[in-house]
């Protein structure tokens, strides 16, 4: 029912000779399934009636998994909100549209379907992609299909007071804590050569370039600390992250990033390379270059708002980043009303980064509640 309003989600992926492309999918489904302990499993393009989203339920929780080329966090959030509103209406509650709940009776607007990258790629130069090699977390790999989740539930007012005290935003504060945790982890390994610790953080471009697209519209920034320049105190890290964000996150720099991304897609030479070669190089690129340039991923979806009629039925939101290619930990943050959740997902056994991260929060006087899907060993 909801799906018809979101044609960009109702698609299947097809292999062409030169590109994979998305086409509308009218097969039955996707069906709601009972939730599982290891979410974000790899998606086979032909399974699940060729749908690229999965919907799960567990106790009082609804989960939506979206293949990364369909949409980013903002787009997926519209879908999840609308779906939840439709579900509550079926239960007999009065839920109005608005605050991200879309009217499922209206036809989708063309602006929601656009490729906003192309519209805004106006900068004359791109920015180089390379960031240099970053510290990489090593750990014992779990068997394939395992996704370890450690979730920290934090009251928003407490963390806001602490980050205000430092004079930074919540995102900057959590960024700095994660960098701090990674630096501690690298130090504890006593490496021959220390490497810079870098985070890969997506930025929602909708707040800089007005667009209503429900497809992907993000860019990456890489806040980084280089321990070879000396030991950073936590306050110095905070200061650095704070200045980095001020410096890089503005329409001009982001536009140059868009141009870099779009130029790959537009390049006539790359367009004619057969797909199997592309698959191969893209995979190599991800495992060796992209994952090598950052030590961990961090995303903050921000504060979610809902129509106030839905308030009593929704307790909290969680966001998970999918399975990484290498042995790293990814971190996703979202807040709703007074609950902020920090979800670490990884496919390794070790929990050092998570431990350093949450211990730092506790040291700063922020109460944290931990949940996990890990089976702890005796």
């Amino acid at each position: 029912m909801t799906l018809c309003r979101f044609p960009t989600f109702q698609v299947a992926i097809r292999k062409g000779l030169f590109w994979r492309y998305l086409e509308p999918n009218h097969r039955p489904g996707p069906y709601v399934q009972p939730d599982i302990g290891n979410p974000c499993m790899p998606m086979h393009f032909k399974a699940n009636n060729r749908y690229l989203i999965r919907i799960y339920y567990y106790e009082k929780r609804i989960s939506l998994e979206v293949f990364h080329s369909l949409s980013d966090g903002t787009g997926a959030l519209y879908f999840l909100k609308t779906m939840t509103a439709v579900y509550l209406r079926l239960l007999g509650h009065e839920i109005p549209n608005g605050e991200g709940v879309l009217d499922i009776t209206e036809t989708p607007k063309p602006e929601e379907l656009e490729d906003a990258y192309l519209r805004y790629a106006s900068s004359k130069i791109g920015r180089p992609r390379s960031q240099g090699n970053a510290y990489r977390v090593r750990g014992t790999k779990e068997p394939f299909y395992t996704l370890n989740i450690i979730c920290g539930v934090i009251p928003v007012d407490k963390i806001r007071v602490v980050s205000k005290g430092y004079g930074v935003t919540i995102t900057e504060y959590l960024n700095a804590v994660l960098l701090y945790a990674l630096l501690q982890k690298q130090k504890s390994e006593r490496p021959f050569h220390e490497r810079p610790v870098t985070l890969a953080m997506p930025v929602n471009l909708r707040s800089f370039f007005p667009s209503e697209t429900l497809r992907n519209f993000i860019s990456m920034v890489y806040p980084s600390i280089d321990p070879r320049m000396g030991d950073y105190t936590f306050e110095e890290i905070l200061q650095h992250v704070h200045n980095y964000m001020r410096y890089y996150i503005n329409p001009k720099f982001l536009n140059a990033d868009i141009v870099t991304n779009a130029s790959v897609q537009q390049n006539p030479f790359i367009r004619i390379v057969p797909l199997f070669l592309k698959d191969f190089t893209v995979r190599r690129f991800y495992t060796h270059v992209q994952d090598g340039q950052s030590s961990a991923g961090l995303t903050n979806v921000g504060l979610i708002k809902l129509p106030k009629e839905m308030g009593p039925f929704v307790e909290r939101f969680d966001v998970l980043m999918g399975q990484p290619f290498s042995a790293r930990t990814n971190c996703a943050i979202v807040s709703y009303q007074n609950i902020l959740t920090v979800n670490f997902t990884s496919s390794i056994k070790e929990t050092d980064i998570e431990r350093y991260f949450f211990r730092k929060l506790v040291q700063d006087g922020i109460p944290v509640k931990i949940e996990t899907n890990r089976k702890m060993e005796e």
């Binding site: 032909k46 699940n48 998570e354 211990r359 944290v368 949940e371």
Partner: protein, 234 residues
């Protein structure tokens, strides 16, 4: 509610240990809850298997048609000898080589290696049956194929199964090269002359032994390893 005595974080009522540091929860006032649902499901999911394997079907058809066409040609048009049997043998061998690509989840690398060795041995047996000629198959081909397969299995065990260091892997590979060279010269010598005398393989053997001795010394001397790492800037 319980807190971890080590990290100071609040834990879920169902947690028996701290997820961050694995410290056990011991709270006399509140035992670990077993009735309430855990925050995450305990059921494990598995990815739906993809049914039609286009590549498997395509390769099987190509190899099968090649074999059949050649047999037909051999029987009806080009009736010189039994040449089509070679083609059939090669097609069967290729199909066995492709097994890991056909069923990537089910097969292990060790059974694949054994199957590949077996298919080569069978193909050579076919050739020797078509050309019965002074027992070269039993004397040379079969021993080398069996030995080669065994050595490859051993190398793969060292590379993938045991978590051995690069040095050990290199040493084992060197040793395997030496063994296969010596064995090759030995079976050829025995077959042609009836006696056995080390010639070219002696050079290979000496090189491999020297390299292996160096590698093992480096491996066993902790200080030396650190020194080399420092000098070579690893």
């Amino acid at each position: 509610m319980s807190y971890c005595v080590n990290c100071g974080v609040e834990l879920d009522a169902t947690a028996a240990a701290c997820p961050l540091c694995n410290t056990k929860v011991y709270n006399p006032n509140q035992p670990v809850a077993t009735e309430v649902p855990t925050p995450y499901p305990t059921v494990k999911g598995a990815v739906e298997p993809v049914k039609a394997k286009e590549f498997t079907i395509l390769m099987t058809i190509i190899l099968l048609t090649t074999a059949v066409v050649c047999v037909l040609l051999n029987v009806f048009t080009i009736q010189i000898g039994r040449w089509s049997l070679y083609v059939v043998g090669i097609c069967a061998m290729l199909w066995v080589f492709f097994i890991p690509l056909f069923f990537p989840e089910k097969t292990s690398i060790y059974t694949n290696l054994a199957l590949n060795g077996l298919s080569i041995a069978l193909f050579l047996a076919l050739v020797s049956w078509l050309h019965p000629n002074n027992n070269w198959y039993e004397h040379i081909a079969l021993p080398i194929v069996i030995l080669g397969t065994l050595l490859l299995e051993i190398i793969f065990i060292f590379v993938f199964m045991l978590k051995s260091s690069m040095i050990v892997k290199a040493a084992v590979s060197m040793a395997a090269i030496a063994v296969i060279c010596v064995a090759t010269e030995m079976v050829i010598d025995l077959h042609l002359r009836g006696y056995f005398y080390l010639r070219w393989s002696a050079i290979v053997l000496t090189c491999c032994v020297v390299i292996d001795i160096i590698l093992m010394t480096i491996y066993l001397q902790e200080g030396l390893r650190a020194e080399i790492r420092r000098r070579m800037h690893f």
